[in-house]
């Protein structure tokens, strides 16, 4: 009996590592934003699906995530239970801020979610199609003011890519950066700017209420239930996804990396996560392993090129 008892404790102790690590997730942004929400949704899903026992979220805000990534790379090195949320915005911020720590200094695990960018005009605008807008842009690039998020961010990059695809000098675009999508939305609704750019989710309720006109989406193919063409369909070869990912610490062994990838895959397939995606309106763009590494490299070089074109990166 006594032996049985001991054995069960031992078995329990041995089984514990199989219950995976108590992850700590860093959101390299202040509470409230997309990365913070992603980190907290991960926390809830990992715990509810019993993939991890106790998950902590910590916020390290600043400079498009470059403060967070620098801290993450140096302090969590070699720790197999440290995760960080990041995304496409970080790719641009690393380039514009000349951050010494880049995504090469962490271990990207998987892309989790993504949102496509939308181009809108106020309902009262005389611009009816994306063609009208580009025609105006071609006629006088400075006269078309674009409202969107921070300089060098996803919204700015999309305008640069569109200008380039339309044969307009990207350095001539008149991009008005607002602090965050909310302030930009107010300026667009108030017709302070010609057109607006942001994630489709930011505009969705306004588009449905008829106060904004959706001109185009930056998706690779038409999105079901959204009444607008893609930029590609409209003749501009631009596809842009504002994705969010999860990365692990640098200096991990191949096994440790595989274990984390396994946990993340379990998470992505779980019911809790799928429900979270639905309530938050996030698209499941899960991509892992070598496919993700290749996509990431492609995104980084394309972003660097367009930031140089706009003149933000020398």
């Amino acid at each position: 009996m006594k032996h049985f008892f001991l054995a069960s404790i031992l078995a329990g102790a041995l089984a514990l590592p199989a219950y995976a690590a108590d992850y700590t997730i860093m959101a390299p942004a202040a509470p409230g934003g997309g990365w913070d929400q992603t980190a907290r949704s991960l926390q809830t899903a990992l715990q509810q699906e019993k993939i991890s026992g106790n998950v902590q979220v910590m916020n390290v805000p600043g400079a498009g995530g470059t403060i967070g990534i620098a801290q993450f790379a140096s302090q969590q090195k070699g720790k197999p239970n440290a995760l960080m949320v990041g995304g496409y915005v970080m790719v641009g911020a690393i380039l514009t801020n000349k951050s010494p720590v880049t995504l090469k200094d962490v271990t990207p695990i998987a892309r989790l979610t993504g949102e496509y960018e939308a181009i809108v005009v106020p309902a009262s605008s005389d611009i009816k199609t994306i063609g009208d807008l580009v025609a105006k842009l071609k006629a006088n690039p400075g006269a078309v003011s674009w409202g969107g998020g921070s300089a060098g961010g996803t919204d700015h990059i999309l305008v640069g890519l569109l200008a380039k695809a339309a044969g307009v000098d990207p350095t001539k675009i008149n991009y008005i950066a607002f602090s965050g999508g909310g302030e930009a939305l107010a300026a667009i609704l108030g017709s302070q700017v010609t057109a607006g750019v942001s994630s489709y989710g930011e505009f969705e309720s306004q588009v449905k209420a008829g106060t904004l006109r959706l001109l185009a989406l930056s998706a690779d193919k038409k999105i079901e239930g959204v009444d607008a063409p893609t930029l590609k369909e409209s003749g501009f070869d631009v596809v842009l996804q504002n994705w969010r990912m999860v990365a692990a610490a640098p200096g991990l062994s191949a096994e440790q990396k595989k274990a984390i990838q396994g946990d993340v895959e379990k998470l992505v397939k779980s019911k809790t996560w799928q429900e979270t995606l639905k309530t938050k309106g996030w698209a499941d763009t899960y991509l892992s392993g070598e496919a993700f590494d290749a996509q990431l490299a492609k995104d980084i070089s394309a972003t660097e090129a367009v930031l140089k074109d706009i003149g933000l990166v020398k």
Binding site: A143, G182, T279
Partner: protein
């Protein structure tokens, strides 16, 4: 009529015992985090969000509402008693409130803050309920040039908060403006004055600066004086409750503060602080007791506190009607809505009236709960002042440091806290006012960005700044506020000015 029915239903739902308990937990937590410098309501709501998954929508919204209003209220307590603003929007409260506390009038100061917050919260919540769709139309008219004009007006009017010497006040303001350009320039993405230090890329955190200048600077100043410092603070002189005169002087300030704070809070790029600045300036101009300003005038507490709470309600206008979160707390509340599959926006009032009215009802309940919770506590809070000075200031130092570390776990941030604390000390020693530094840090980037945005939109045409009627009116007001006192003073008719001010209300 339907509006009233929904509101009544919401009130009935919110008044159920369990929901009242949630409201109590919310306001208690909110007040607690408001009192601690650095830890804001945003972080608290973010931490609580996962917990509320298990509650029903009504319950969790009631708790959010409690935290939100509680946080706005809690900041004033430490401002008044300890000259340590917990949030940037209670900086102005410290100016007169702390002077009152030192003169033994901490009780009336806390009471006018509590009742003023209640009155403002009540009126502003009702305004939110009934005129939100109209207010939001007005807010959308405000583009970059109108905001710029508003900032100019704010700059001119807050100069009255600069103390006795305009030169010293302006010096402080420009120190703040210089600090405000540090970091990534929002419009071009270029780094300014960051000296290659990544921690400076996002600029200088207003709360860090405020806590450092007020709390750390004050502590150093007191410590440096040693035993030579002013005599023991008289904790209570006279009644700890408001006298008839206090009431008479407060009620108009509450109403004016509400009227200033609510629309500014509703503007997507306004911010709670600006309402408090404008309210303070207004009270100072209208008071019959100008000599008391700077020495503990009760209007200087009543007005800004009301403006602060009214703008908290104002913030919910763009959130509910447009789905626009204009503060970090509002952004997290938006995430809270989405958790129940709701998308705030132009259709929310039509598609989910129960929820919207439930929220508005919970705000009313939270507001009442705060008053009930805080008024009896006034007596207890005032006792804080009787704590021996070394203990009290050691405690302030501890809480200021903990709060900063709690909000941003970084050694660099702590270094900034101490450096600015030293700066605050030096400025005190040489008699420079502290508040304008923080005012400059807050208003500087807003004014600069809005000016550059309006010029970018007009492609460099400066006349755009006066082409909008609203902007033109605001600029004229600013010019009048600047020129009229100068002319009157030049003619040696300063008395006329103060008489005018006295007869205006």
């Amino acid at each position: 009529m339907a509006t009233f029915e929904f509101l009544l239903q919401g009130l009935l739902a919110a008044a159920q015992p369990l929901n009242l308990l949630y409201a109590l937990i919310g306001v208690t937590l909110g007040t607690a985090v408001g009192v601690l410098p650095g830890i804001g309501p945003a972080l608290t709501v973010a931490l609580l969000l996962p917990v509320t998954y298990r509650l029903d929508p009504t319950g969790s919204l009631i708790m959010f509402a409690g935290i939100y209003y509680g946080g706005m209220y809690g900041g004033s307590t430490t401002s008044i008693l300890l000259n340590t603003p917990g949030e940037s929007s209670s900086i102005v409260t410290a100016l007169e409130g702390n002077k009152m506390a030192r003169a033994g009038r901490g009780g009336p100061a806390l009471a006018t803050a509590a009742i003023g917050s209640f009155v403002a919260g009540l009126i502003a919540t009702l305004l939110l309920a009934f005129i939100a769709p109209y207010i939001v139309k007005l807010a959308l008219v405000f583009g970059p040039r109108e905001y710029f004009a508003l900032m100019v007006l704010a700059f001119v009017t807050v100069s009255s908060a600069f103390g006795d010497s305009t030169l010293r006040g302006l010096t402080s303001l420009f120190i703040g403006l210089a600090f405000s350009v540090v970091g990534i320039d929002q419009l071009t993405g270029q780094n300014r004055l960051s000296f290659g230090i990544p921690d400076l890329l996002d600029g200088i955190e207003v709360t860090t600066m405020a806590v450092a200048m007020f709390a750390i600077g004050e502590t150093l100043f007191i410590a440096a004086q040693g035993d030579k410092g002013p005599d023991k603070v008289e904790a209570v002189r006279g009644s700890i409750w408001m006298s008839a005169q206090d009431w008479a002087r407060s009620w108009k300030a509450w109403l004016r503060g509400t009227l200033i704070g609510f629309p500014i809070g509703a503007m997507p790029a306004g911010g709670a602080e600006i309402g408090t600045f404008l309210s303070y300036a207004t009270e100072k101009r209208l008071t019959r007791y100008p000599e008391e300003f700077g020495n503990g005038a009760i209007e200087g507490v009543a007005g800004p506190e009301a403006a602060n709470n009214a703008s908290a309600a104002g913030t919910l206008v763009p959130l509910l009607t447009l789905g626009l979160p204009t503060t970090a707390t509002a952004a997290i509340m938006l995430a809270g809505f989405q958790q129940y599959g709701l998308q705030p926006g132009p259709l929310l009032f039509a598609t989910n009236p129960q929820l919207v009215w439930g929220l508005i009802a919970s705000l009313l309940i939270a507001n009442l709960m705060l008053l009930v919770l805080n008024l009896p506590l006034v007596g207890l809070w005032v006792k804080l002042l009787t704590i021996p000075k070394p203990w009290l200031y050691a405690g302030i130092l501890l809480f200021a440091t903990l709060g900063t570390i709690g909000a941003n776990p970084s050694v660099f941030e702590l270094g900034m806290l101490l450096t600015f604390g030293l700066l605050g000390y030096v400025m005190r020693v040489f008699g420079y006012p502290i508040a304008p530094v923080v005012v400059g840090l807050i208003l500087g980037p807003l004014a600069e960005q809005q000016l550059r945005r309006s010029l970018a939109i007009s492609q460099g045409d400066v006349t755009t700044l006066v082409q909008s009627p609203i902007a033109a009116v605001l600029l004229v007001l600013a010019a009048l506020a600047l020129i009229v006192p100068l002319i009157l003073r030049a003619r040696g008719r300063g008395e006329v000015l103060s008489q005018m001010a006295a007869s205006e209300d």
